[in-house]
């Protein structure tokens, strides 16, 4: 029983990571109908920003985390202005190549700037052990789970009640109608990229003390988050969050009871299996955040 509980804890931690990254991906797709293949690199850069603030500048953990979120939100805004705005009206092929090219460029820039040695950012919480019902885990995992829930609740409130959130929701339903009634669609798209990049940095600040940061860390993460977005019903944020947790838990159970070598394949097997039965995704509905 404690064995199963342990696998669930791993699954929920992984699920939280995938969900925070997938949320940004789903938001971007929902609002501007574009798949950002450089989104995993937002996580990677967020991790480096957090490492720099926490390790190099010696800022306290919460301040370093917030600094990374702010830095990446600014990066997200710049990325929207420099890359996304210029390709938004182009075909999906152009969008695909442009975001993939950004991903490769950012990864190689990270190799040049930060080197290839993985960066470790151990915190006090990542060394302190909590033991519950025979399951040992570091307190950082508890923080990841609690913070993820808080972030999703805040996002839910933001999309339902805040003016910008409502505009994002409206744009996800009908961009042209929004423009007609006076919504500044460019500003909403800009804000969406800022929020999505900030979310990726929040994930990095929470999870990096458990794992490590290296230039290639975003590649597989983008694919997992992408699988969650597809599984949850393209562009539907709640669906992506639920699917991300499903993938995290499925992966963990597969690694624990079947084979660790094929655990990464599980996300995609689950995705294909669900799409065979429900082509519209688990929570199938029209696009809309």
């Amino acid at each position: 029983m404690s064995d199963l509980l342990e696998q669930l804890v791993h699954g929920l931690t992984l699920g939280s990571l995938y969900a925070m990254v997938a949320t940004g991906l789903a938001l971007m797709f929902g609002v501007v109908r574009l798949i950002n293949f450089a989104h995993g690199e937002f996580y990677m850069l967020g991790g480096y920003a957090f490492w720099y603030a926490y390790v190099e500048l010696g800022l306290p953990y919460p301040v370093a985390g917030l600094a990374a979120v702010a830095a990446m939100a600014a990066f997200g805004l710049a990325y929207e202005r420099a890359v996304i705005r210029t390709i938004l009206a182009r075909t999906w092929h152009v969008q695909l190549i442009a975001t993939l090219a950004t991903s490769i460029t950012l990864t190689n820039l990270a190799i040049i700037v930060f080197g290839t040695q993985p960066k470790e950012v151990p915190t006090r919480l990542s060394a302190a052990i909590l033991e519950v019902g025979g399951v040992r885990m570091v307190w950082q995992r508890v923080l990841v789970l609690v913070a993820a829930v808080a972030i999703f609740a805040a996002l839910e409130w933001f999309v339902a009640h805040a003016r910008l959130g409502k505009a994002m929701r409206a744009m996800s339903q009908n961009r042209e109608a929004c423009a007609v009634v006076g919504v500044d669609v460019q500003q909403v798209a800009l804000a969406t990229f800022g929020i999505s990049a900030g979310l990726a940095a929040a994930a990095a600040a929470l999870v990096s003390p458990l794992f490590s940061i290296f230039p290639d860390v975003g590649a597989l993460l983008t694919l997992k988050a992408f699988a969650a977005v597809i599984l949850g019903g393209f562009g539907y944020v709640r669906g992506a969050i639920a699917a991300a947790f499903l993938i995290g838990i499925a992966e963990s159970l597969a690694a624990g009871y079947l084979s660790y070598a094929y655990k990464d394949a599980i996300a995609f097997v689950v995705m294909v299996a669900v799409l065979l039965v429900r082509p519209q995704g688990l929570f199938g509905r029209r696009i809309g955040i």
Binding site: D3, I111, Q117, P122, D216, E251, G256, Y260
Partner: protein
Amino acid sequence: MTRTGYRTIGVAIAVGLAWGPAADAPPAGAQTAPPLRVGFSSAMTGPSAITGEGVKWAAQMLADEYNAKGGIMGRKIELYFGDNAGTPGEAVSAVRKLVDVDRVDVIVGQTHSGACLGALPVVKELQVPMVIEACSHPKIRDQIGKNGNEWAFRVNPDDVMLANQFAKFIVQSSKTVSIFAQNDDFGRGAAAAYDAAFKKVGVKLVSTEFFDRGQADYRPVLTRVKRANPEGVLLVMLASEGSVFMRQFREIGLTQKLYARGSMGTVEFLYQVRDSPNIADGLVEATYWTPALDPAWEKQWLERWKVPVRIHGSLAAIAFRYAVAPAIEQAIKKTGKADRKAIRDALEEVDVPNTPVGRIKFDDTHQAFINMLLVEINGGQLKVLEKIPIQP
């Protein structure tokens, strides 16, 4: 920018390119020996890029050192790099680029077993000598020297040689062992070698698990290890993964004896875990290089790069210094030239008895037999437990 603006920049670049070499060329009539074109191939990108960075740094140190002394037999060294990304497919492109574009005389590499296996047919096809510095897959020896590929030579021992010795050490403290290995040619080759070696000495292999490089979470598999409860765990992994693995190993409360193949028993690993230096105390690594073998090299590295000496760069340096450089010297002395064929022939005759890793002399399978080391992490420090000569 206007179209005219772009054209102006284009013309300026073209003029610059045309002018550049001419500006650097020696005065007419001056005689200079042609440079030696040496290629280093390793993973410069991808999850294994840390190895390639080390190789590149080592190559730069070597080139500066040799060129400061006038090169080898008066011929300066020019460096070229190939990026194999640690994979067989990219290794093929890396070798073709080094040969077709850079026109190198000799290659040192490929660091990763899969890349090596991918590169072997190409070096044979293109007839360029390649000295392997760190690929330990047992199948490599079945393909080189008299076994078919006369252009490849290997300095480092393979995992069958290492496993036969290491298993004898492991059985003294662990009768049951789980293997946890990288899911690539290196990891799978080593896992198969240890499976066979354990059978010979009476160690029961409880489980074998493979992981893809760049994993974030090892806890699920550690839970499996906890369930299987072996006396020891053999890790086939590099330092870059090892630090995260060790933190989670301790997090889950495991206390098994740890054995390693890869680069866990290195200063790279200790640097990664410098916030908790005792985290891997007791781990014993089977290896063939450690900084204690060459303190001068380590000092020079630290001064130049300001980070701990990297094992893969150091192995590339060993291969260059004690196999490639003597072969080039021999080739020039014997034939007056250092072309690919002359270097290949000279490599067969290389015999350097006292290198930091032991004697370097290739047998008819183009395999050298250097010493194996057992290195233990103790109190956050590396300690050489044993130096074991490997017999042909």
